[in-house]
């Protein structure tokens, strides 16, 4: 079904799902939503499988015109979503009628909103995923951000879309995105390339996200991290890898992380906290806290159990 026409593409809007797995050995990044929890909940609110493709809206400017009646949910950062110019609530299903306009006035908190559409966005899967990888020019619509005139098509909903309108996410599950982010990290794989002092600096300092930040990675600015050596024989990188460059500044690799790289990686952000970083923007502050791998796995288990609970509540 033709659900929407893009009338204004906004700053940077792409189609994303939970990523393209299984091809990193060929140099193909995983991609996928920067804030995965928000994408999964958006889908659950409109009756989709949690991994369906959504629109990832960055900061402001997107405007859509509805070509048919449908149901959407907007989650993630609060970019002030509007229907026909009037504010609409986030984190719940919203009825959209043919001719309605959906737009975003600008960010109040966070920087990426997710729009799930009942049925799920229908673009051809490339290597198992609908995620857009702009640098590689594939996935989504022609491997690029949305542009005016694009038509957002959806698959046939598998549930009665009018019945999902009663769904509501309890307040406790709605995240609050702040301009100071505390993220937990597991040290390694190359923490032995850094001095004790360097690791201490990394774990006790505040870093600022710079404008040199995108879906591939965030360049940070702050106290210099002392290293023994910053070059390694290139090995693999993952979403959450924290590389330290020659100038001692950290870079956090994000969803479009390159699969390999030649800078030493001091630590890796734990999976659940990547969602918080996905909502952070240039100027925001980041602090790192070390956790053990056991703690990291406990946090991940709780994170997944919470999403399971949300799934049960919404059904």
């Amino acid at each position: 079904m033709k659900a929407f026409e893009v009338t204004k593409p906004g700053f940077f809007t792409t189609i994303q799902d939970l990523g393209r797995w299984g091809y990193q050995m060929y140099g193909i990044p995983v991609s996928g939503a920067m804030d995965r929890r928000s994408l999964r909940i958006a889908n659950l609110l409109v009756g989709n499988d949690e991994g369906e493709a959504c629109l990832e809206v960055t900061v402001y400017g997107l405007e859509l015109k509805a070509l048919n009646d449908t149901v959407i949910a907007v989650t993630g950062g609060d970019l002030t979503p509007l229907r026909n110019g009037e504010p609409i609530p986030m984190w719940q299903p919203i009825r959209v009628r043919k001719g309605d306009t959906i737009s975003f006035r600008g960010p109040k908190s966070g920087c990426r909103a997710y729009i799930a559409v009942s049925g799920g966005i229908d673009v051809p899967k490339v290597l198992g995923s609908r995620s857009t990888y702009v640098k590689g020019k594939f996935g989504g619509i022609e491997g690029r951000p949305l542009k005016p005139g694009d038509i957002i098509e959806t698959k046939e909903p598998t549930v009665d879309i009018l019945r999902v309108l009663a769904r509501k996410l309890p307040e406790d599950f709605i995240p609050k995105f702040k301009p100071e982010v505390n993220v937990r990290v597991v040290l390694g794989p190359q923490d032995d390339y850094f001095t004790e002092n360097g690791i201490k600096t990394f774990l006790t300092s505040e870093y600022t996200i710079t404008v040199k930040s995108d879906r591939m990675g965030y360049r940070l600015q702050g106290p210099k991290i002392e290293y023994i050596e910053y070059n390694i024989i290139s090995d693999a990188c993952t979403r959450g890898s924290i590389q330290v460059l020659g100038d001692g500044m950290p870079v956090i690799l994000m969803s479009d992380a390159q699969t390999t790289g030649g800078y030493a990686k001091i630590a890796t952000v734990i999976t659940p906290d990547m969602d918080l970083l996905g909502q952070a923007k240039p100027g925001d502050k980041v602090r790192f806290t070390q956790v053990s791998i056991e703690e990291a796995h406990t946090v991940l288990r709780k994170y997944e159990e919470e999403i399971k609970k949300i799934k049960e509540i919404l059904q």
């Binding site: 797995w21 299984g22 091809y23 990193q24 050995m25 060929y26 140099g27 193909i28 990044p29 490339v126 290597l127 640098k135 590689g136 020019k137 594939f138 996935g139 597991v186 040290l187 390694g188 794989p189 190359q190 024989i233 290139s234 090995d235 693999a236 993952t238 959450g240 890898s241 390159q258 699969t259 390999t260 790289g261 990686k265 890796t268 952000v269 734990i270 999976t271 791998i293 990291a296 796995h297 946090v299 991940l300 288990r301 997944e304």
Partner: protein, 245 residues
Amino acid sequence: MRAQSRLLLAGDSCIAMEFGNEISPELNRMVRRMFFLVKQADIPGVLELVPTYRSLYIYYDPLRIRLEDLKRKLRELERKADEVELPPQRVVEIPTVYGGEYGPDLDFVAKYNNLTPEEVVEIHTSTDYLVYMIGFTPGFAYLGGMSKRIAAPRLETPRVRVPAGSVGIAGEQTGIYPIESPGGWRIIGRTPVKIFDPTRDPPVILQPTSDYVRFVRISEEEFHRIKRLVESGEYEVSIRPLREG
């Protein structure tokens, strides 16, 4: 006896098995052995493997397999690694037109090394290059084995646009740009073959676990002929078994 690998944490869902800290065909062979062993073992909860120069990265779901169990399993497999028979190695021939508009830096590389452009091409096409790993961008193969006689420094200022298929030299490395991108390598030629194509599966013409690359010199006419076949999906790259020794 070979030293045991190091198991390094790469976050909550990935572990690196590191066999050493150098670039060598022997070390890389160990990575490939482990790759096939782990793949064959089909361990529930293991999601994806990424072989690199000297380590194997193993993505796993910690909610399906406990890290301790995974580590134990990997150690068991590692003990068998020396006995593994690797699949036969292949040489993938990459037709390449050298110099001119296709290789604007060929003359520089020649002058830099006190060679003629002809000699550079001769040397570049006389080696089977080992694919150590693929990464950095989709389909970019880290190749090993280039002669030092044609080594050349990177450009001081990278080009904004290097066409897909460009064959270049940076330091003692040679490589092929699989997609159009910015780049600072000295470009000596171009292949009409699509190294990377997301509509294929596997999407890359080279395997990081068994392949060598051999550049084969072609004329400009041949370049255009092959390019047309590539566009119409009729081109098959030539692959032969590796001759040992």
